[in-house]
């Protein structure tokens, strides 16, 4: 497939209703550190307790340039969270070859800029997702693949699967399907690139600003919270 085809295929993506971050208060500037209540006293020494801060943007012209670079150098966190993750593998093959778009799977969250959530998210996985997401360095983007990630899909009544990822981490692009074809995933990434170039993919700052809200949601389902409040 050529780039033009992908642009034409952009209708494979769906606009979904946005997260209801109602009138939740923003983060307060004097709030610098977290309690890390989930850790024992000994473990408190081992984890950083700083609170994430929304990042400042540079000048617009620079930011545009950087956004161009970011969009052309999407490094994917290769963390197979669900069955949709299997769709990432065909993407790097000769047939689809995301590397021509400057994308490559990256084995460590530190270096990746896109988190691809590949399908249903159980509570246990959610914990890992939150951890990995927080370990990524901003600006960071999330692409959620599969119906399960959107509304629970076939696990709509499962006692152990969350139904809305965007309640727990900010999601930039959803890709529907059960499972979506690689083309659809690719289209999702193209969409993400557009969003980045347009400066609309600011999930990182959203997460920092509404950090307490996200944390509340996360903690409401993750009952054994045995990690720091923010995994630096």
């Amino acid at each position: 497939m050529k780039d033009d085809d992908i642009k034409n295929d952009s209708n494979l993506t769906v606009e979904v209703s946005q997260t209801p971050i109602a009138d939740y208060p923003d983060w307060r500037k004097d709030d610098k550190s977290l309690t890390n209540a989930g850790l024992s006293e000994e473990e408190q020494d081992w984890f950083c307790d700083a609170r994430p801060q929304p990042a400042k943007k540079s000048w617009q012209i620079m930011e545009n340039f950087f956004n161009w670079a970011r969009s052309n150098s999407l490094w994917i966190l290769a963390f197979g969270t669900g069955c949709g993750a299997i769709e990432l593998r065909p993407l790097v093959t000769a047939r689809y070859d995301i590397s021509r778009l400057g994308m490559q799977p990256r084995p460590t969250p530190r270096q990746a800029s896109v988190f691809m959530i590949g399908g249903y998210v159980s509570i246990k996985t959610l914990k890992r997702i939150v951890r990995s997401y927080e370990q990524m360095q901003g600006p960071k983007f999330v692409v959620a693949v599969c119906s399960c990630a959107i509304n629970g899909g076939m696990y709509w009544d499962s006692y152990n699967t969350v139904k809305r990822i965007d309640e727990y981490i900010p999601v930039d692009v959803y890709v529907t399907g059960c499972m979506p074809r690689p083309e659809a995933v690719l289209a999702g990434f193209s969409k993400l690139k557009e969003l980045i170039k347009a400066g609309k993919a600011e999930g990182q700052n959203l997460y920092a600003e509404k950090f307490d809200w996200y944390k509340e949601n996360q903690k409401s389902v993750i009952k054994d919270w045995n990690m720091p409040d923010y995994n630096w």
């Binding site: 990042a55 950087f66 970011r70 052309n72 150098s73 400057g102 460590t108 360095q137």
Partner: protein, 302 residues
């Protein structure tokens, strides 16, 4: 030549090698992709990646050595380059090569590796340390054939001075070390496979197993700096090899041609081979290339 002049030209030369080295890196990815039947990233992809990494908004640090690790690494790369004369007979592209000979260059290569290893160590990630231990172990092994080939050159030319070695190879391509001392060149090229850490000697950065080795914890501008160094360091090593074994270069065009082809050797090998385990690569380097190297030394010492 005034010192300011020298520094100025050193910067120019550094710029050239950075651009060329990164372009080479881009070409490598392209070639790998074509070997695998893919289109591959554009040649300028390394530049975009570096810009993006430097444009990251957040960064964390595990401590002062972690912070300095990439600085050590790039200082090692630039320093190595600074002590190599780039163009033969050029007053502008000789850097600070008068401050030492090939021994200095060989040891300055370690500067960056040691600093990087320390930084990775402070990251506290076990994978970093595992990778460093692999990398160092492999390094001890491939340095042996390389040292032997340099020694063979010393036996041949009677000098450690890189400029003099290049000078001895002037006057027709048949006077290149490649043709006058082929065994040494073969030895050195094999050890270069280890230096460049492409397959089959890529166990150090083993991406799936110990996520890309020492820089597991590095990100943002740290990673950008490391990526920049990949270009500079590759350039420096290639220039060194070109000088020692392939007759050096008198202008930038020849330099690019020669370094490209030298690099392509390890790239082609890397594209075609699977990976060695650490102990296997140690055994490999200490047998065949070492024997070749010893033969080449013995040939010239009598």
């Amino acid at each position: 030549m005034s010192i300011a002049f020298k520094v100025f030209w050193a910067f120019i030369s550094l710029g050239v090698v950075t651009v060329w080295g990164l372009t080479l890196n881009g070409m490598v990815h392209k070639i790998f992709a074509r070997v695998q039947g893919r289109l591959g990233p554009p040649v300028w992809q390394p530049f975009i990646d570096i810009i993006k990494n430097n444009a990251k908004r957040t960064a964390i640090t595990h401590g002062i050595m972690f912070y300095l690790g990439p600085v050590f690494r790039i200082a090692g790369g630039i320093g190595t380059y600074m002590f190599i004369p780039v163009l033969f007979g050029s007053a502008y592209f000789s850097n600070f090569s008068l401050s030492g000979d090939v021994l200095l260059v060989m040891y300055f290569i370690f500067f960056g590796q040691l600093g990087m290893a320390l930084g990775a160590g402070e990251g506290g990630h076990p994978y970093s340390a595992i990778a460093v231990s692999r990398g160092l172990a492999q390094m001890t092994a491939f340095e042996v054939p390389f040292a032997l080939s340099v020694i063979s050159l010393v036996a041949q030319y009677g000098t450690l001075n890189i400029t003099e070695i290049v000078a001895a190879q002037q006057g027709g391509f048949l006077r290149w070390t490649l043709f006058t001392n082929p065994l040494a060149v073969i030895t050195a090229m094999i050890s270069m496979l280890g230096m460049n850490m492409y397959n089959p000697f890529s166990v150090v950065i083993a991406p799936q197993e110990i996520p890309i080795g020492p820089p597991t914890e590095y990100h943002s501008s740290f990673l950008g700096m490391l990526a920049t160094n990949r270009g500079i360091f590759a350039g420096a090593k290639l220039v060194l090899f070109m000088n020692l074994f392939f007759g050096g270069a008198t202008n930038l065009l020849i330099l690019m041609l020669k370094t490209f082809w030298i690099y392509m050797f390890s790239v082609f090998v890397g594209a075609a081979y699977p990976r060695f385990r650490t102990e296997d690569s140690i055994r490999f380097f200490l047998t065949y290339p070492t024997i070749l190297g010893i033969i080449s030394v013995l040939l010239f010492s009598f």
